[in-house]
Every structure is written in structure tokens, then in C-alpha cells.
Subunit: 414 residues, 2 copies
Amino acid sequence: MGFDIKQHFRRGLPAPAVPFQGYPEYNFVGGHNDNDSIPVDELIAAATRSLEAEGRSLATYGLTSGLQGHRPLRDYIAKRLKDSAGLRDGAREVLVTSGSMQGLELVNALLLEPDDCVIVEEASYGGALARLKGAGVSCRAVRLDDDGIDTEQLARLLAEQKSAGQPAKYIYTIPTVQNPTGCVMTVERRRRLIELAEEFDCVIFEDDCYADLLWQGQRPPAIRALDTSSGGSSRVIYCGSFSKTIAPALRVGYVVADWPAIAQMLALKSDAGTGALEQLVLADYCPAHFDDHVEQLTQIMRRKCETMVSALEEHFGATAEFTAPKGGIFIWITLPEAVDAGVLALAAIQQGVAINPGADWTVDGQNNRHRMRLCFGHPSHEIIRDGVAILAQICHREFGVPQRGGNVARGDSR
Amino acid sequence: MGFDIKQHFRRGLPAPAVPFQGYPEYNFVGGHNDNDSIPVDELIAAATRSLEAEGRSLATYGLTSGLQGHRPLRDYIAKRLKDSAGLRDGAREVLVTSGSMQGLELVNALLLEPDDCVIVEEASYGGALARLKGAGVSCRAVRLDDDGIDTEQLARLLAEQKSAGQPAKYIYTIPTVQNPTGCVMTVERRRRLIELAEEFDCVIFEDDCYADLLWQGQRPPAIRALDTSSGGSSRVIYCGSFSKTIAPALRVGYVVADWPAIAQMLALKSDAGTGALEQLVLADYCPAHFDDHVEQLTQIMRRKCETMVSALEEHFGATAEFTAPKGGIFIWITLPEAVDAGVLALAAIQQGVAINPGADWTVDGQNNRHRMRLCFGHPSHEIIRDGVAILAQICHREFGVPQRGGNVARGDSR
């Protein structure tokens, strides 16, 4: 009998991966980006220039900047965040991470112990929710509306947790182009959030990965930028990424926090630095091109969003309720309660349509089974139109809604 | 009073990092490489070609290959390991990792539970030892000689652990250019190791990160290649890296194992894939250039090793005992018992000389305080000569040995 390595695995492992069979044809999941928007020529030029200038420093871990991240890239990140989001941090407060997911993991490793409580927006990033569940902490959901977190309810939650002897450790928020709802928290709410975090002495973890993809107007200042009341130190840990603005396959994100937190996360970051070639290329590319690139990309995303909204109206009609997002790459959709989006997802993938069921993107998965997230960043306009049409057919077949052809006028309730 | 985020940190964190002040002038620690050997022009050409051909696929996580790693790179790794080390694995058995350290962490996450026992070579990679301590497992040291693991002692250790009701979970070995001793395990010992692992039903974890840097002759087959007795499945998990052969700042390593283990490690790998630009560049560069590059690099390392050996003989004389390594980038040195290399390291860094104290590179740190590892891959010949001279002076000042000018003829015992 052959040796069976599975006998030696530790207990409690997650389900094993299945062999990759290619991405589905109608790929409405994941933070993938628009193929044609990858700035290939400029990245080649940046790779050439930066390798000519600094390629030999690939011989040392972390180039010549140590493991906190390539210094010119950290300088760029600090400057860009000052200009766009109002942050006052320098390169010392920036830690380059291997994607923003590593940022989430470092923040959790920094702050959380089992049985801690974390407050999370009722609908939130699935990867963050999964990590919090994995860390064994309890998540409490705070309500969202078009203006972001309902701070009145937040005040009650914080008070409840304090009374229960389990004060919230941090509040996790995606304030600017919220994932998955696409809303943007108002400045007033941001200020109130900071007041509440001070009153109940908890940390705010601000995930700003989509903030650059706002359709129009100036983005509000980051919450970290508004937190000025604590004698120069801030209770806000901020993270961002180049995945959504340049390319997700480049694994480069960043955390911005006061130095004591950065120093501790740097000690926890055990990967001997984030890939240096990707950092070199971004440090060369971004100062000259980032702003223009993002402006163009945002308009491409906006048009894809319009295509998806049209397709949803045409094929789902009033069956799909949603608020048109203010930016980003996804739409958060509420279906009739009878629809189980988990079942829909399993049926849809058989026909090459991938969707995120709402249960994975909410704190209270059980009561959000009739919701789904559709991403429009990667698929072409044609794929969006065809995929939504196929999805509507499958939904009709499985749940009887929408009505066939369902281009019913949608109500104002969306 | 200002907000103090440290009040919110979890308990039991490691010591925080200190701000990076540049690498020390005489840098004899870390797996850094030779600056002038970085194949900058070829990497630029590879970046240009691969981005032209596949740059648009940066828009999807994992390019078009999913998160297991860029398929052309996995194909290359499999082919290269077949040719050089005798492995019979295909791309399906290869997981690209964000450096080989991530490989170590994935193997530990796959196999280890607290209170498990792992058998480790008495002197071994500090990063692996630190991770095992962090995982809360008990490490038992197996003796090394010039032919690798002392398999007779290994048999006794395995039997002891079995009798004690705590059988070894895996045996961690660096058989080909061992870190830090530079020895190479004989084929006979490799076969015996496999027999013992079968008899005591434990996994072998073969870390082959330095195997390409053998000074001369054919390397022995990998242990994984020799493990043919179990009906087609293997109990050997193999890992390697491009850090030592191309550049450490490129964070690309790999694990090779049977698919059930790969599938499970892929599920545990939570970083959304290893940096794609670095994978693209390596997949383009390696098929045409890797073998020639490594052949040249190896001779450069060999000459640096000769320079370090000469400098040690000149400045330490009989005070420094060592076996000249058969490859790699480091020398493992035994000093008189009165020398505490930890104290020496602290004194030396004040004068810009960095060394690895033996306590960090051994299972039984307490009894190896008089040993040290010196890396010669990064520093120039001049820096090696000067740095060893300064180190000898410091050692003399702190411990009275070596005698000043100490170019005493060294005995045969080295």
C-alpha cells in the first residue's frame, strides 16, 4: 500500500484547493482588473529604467531599504496619500506589504487575541470576514446606509460591548467606495466615528483599497487624516493597495500607521520583504503616470458599471434592487428573499457564470443569502451583457424570478 | 495625553523592529548575493519580452495560471529539478511560493500541531529553527558529520521518540550544501534516511535552497528523487528557491510534493498568489540562462570562499576551526569555548561587522555559543579580507584570542 501523506496532516485544515481549470467565462467575482488597461508599455519602460539604475541591489534582501519596503516607493505612497487623502505621514509610517491581504493579517496579528470583539460593517470584504472568523474573534455588524456606517447604531454597539465586558478591539471600515456596497462615508460620519473610537478607546482600521476608483469629485479625507485629536498620535491604521489601480497580480499593498505599530508589524512580517522587482517598477512608474492612469481607468470602470446596470435592468428588472455604486468595480444586489444566492452561484458556475453569494460578504450570512456581489472590472462590455442575461435565465429557472425577458421598469426603491 | 496604540497590542508579540539604517559595511550575515552577478541586462530583456507577451494578464490574480504559480515557471522548475536532482514531478506537484520561507511556513501549517516533535540537524537554518520554536513544537537535534546526518544516531532518536509516545512528525534536512556547515549528504545516507522515515512513518522535509551552488561535480539526487518505495507516492516534501541563484530580493521559491499536500498548502497560502512580475521574468529568463548563470556564479562564490578561508587562516589561525564548505555562501566556524559569539556579534556590529552567532543557528544554542556563521556571498574580496581582520581584532580584544596577528599555522583538525 502506498504512503498516504494525508495521514500526517494536522487536524482542522481548510478544504484543499482544486486544480485550476482557468477562470470562468463570465467572471463576476474577485478583484480582477481590465486587461486592456494594464499600462504594459509604461511598465516595460519602468522595469528597464529601474533595473538599469538599481538592478544590482536585488542582491540584498529589501534592496537598499531593508524590509519595510523600497524607500522611493514609500516616499511616493506617502506623497500620494497626502495629496489625495490628506494623510500627514512620511515614509517611516509606511510599511509595504505583499498585497493588502497581508496588511489585514498583520493588523490582526498585531491586535487580536481569541475572544476579542471586532466591529465590522454589516456587508464587508469577504477576505477580511474569513480572516476574522479564522482568528476566532467575534464580529458584530454595524448598519450601513448610503452615507456609510450608521454611527448612532455604532454608539449603541460600542456601549453594549463595553457593558458586556468585551469592549471592541477595533472597528473595521471601508469608508471610501465600500466593498461591496460602493457607498462613501460622509466627512461628518468620519468625524463621529473618530469621536466614538476615542470615547470607547478602540482602534479604527481603515481599508482604503478602492478609494482611488471614485467616479467623480474629490474623495473625502481619509479617517486617519481626520484623526487629529490625540496629541499627534493616531488610533487609525490605514491600508491600501496597487491591485485595483495598477494590477492585482502585482502583489504590492501598504499599511500606514504610527511608527510603534509599523515597527511591530515589521517584526511580524516574516516574508523577508515584498517582491523587489514589483516595488522597483511601481516606484518608477507611479510618479509620472499613476494619476493619469487612474483617471482613465476610473472612466473605463464607470462605463462598465453602466453596462452592468443596464443589463441588470434589462434582464432582472425589479427583481434586482441595488444602489448604483459611486466608484469601484462591483455592485451589491438584493434579490427577493426566496432567492438563495449560494444555490444560484452553484447553478451559475455550471454555465460559466461566477458570482459572490451575499453570505460570504456579510457578517450575518444567514440573513443575507438573497444578496450577491457582481464585479464588472474584468469582463468586457459584451461579457457583462451576456453573463447577466444568462444569470437571469438561471435565476428564473431555479427560483421563478425574474420573469422571463424581465425588462420590467424598476421602481425607485433601488 | 496622547493615544498610545501599544496599549492595544496583543500580548506576547516579538520585539519590534528598529528603523533600517543601511546594511553594515562588513555584512557577513543573511543570504545576500553578489551585486555584480545580478544578470541585469538579461532580466531587463526578460521583463520586456514577458510583459509584451503576457503583461495584460497581470489584470487577473495569478495571471492565467491561478494561485499555484505561473504555469511556464512551474514547468521550468519541474524540468530543471528533473535534470539536476532527478525529481519525477510535473507542474502539478510544484507550488510557487513567496520565497522559500513561505514554503517552510506552509509545510509547518500543513503538518504541525503544538507538542509535536520535529527532528532537525544539530546546526541548521536559523529561520527554520525560529519558526519551529514559534510553532511550539519540540526540536530534537541529530548529529551531522561531513557526510550529512548521522543516521545511526537518527535511528536511536526516532526509536526514543516513538517509545516516548511522541513520534517525530518530520525530519528537516538541508542535505545538499547544508546550512550552515556546507556539507553534502552522501547517497548512501540519503537512502538510509528514507528507510528510517519509512520504518518510523514520518515525513522528510528536504530544503534544497543551496543545492545549485555546489563547487564541483554532480550533485547527488534529491532525497525526494530517491524515495521510490511507496507505490508512487512520496513522503518527502521538497523546497527550493531562486534567492540564492538569481537574487534574494526576488521573492520566489517553490515547494514540490505530491498533489494532496500541494492542494492543501495552496488552500493555506493566503496571499492571493506570489508576485506575478517576478514569476514572468524568471519564466522567461531561466530556460535560456539559468544553467550558465549558476555555473558562473558558483565560481565567483568559490573564489570568495577561498578569500574568506585565507583571511580566517591569516587572522584567526588555529583559533578558528572549520571544514571548508563544498558550496554555498557561508562557513561554519568553531571558536575556542571561551568565546561567546553572541557577545562577539554585539561588539562587532559596533564596528560595522555583522556575524551570525552559533546559538541562533543550532538546536542547542546554549552549547554552541562558541560557533559562528560567516556569509561571503555579498561582500567583495576586499571587504571579506578587511572584515575578517577587524573581527579577529575585536575577538582578541574581547576574549584574548586569536593572538594578535594570529597567522599561526592551522592544525589538521579543521
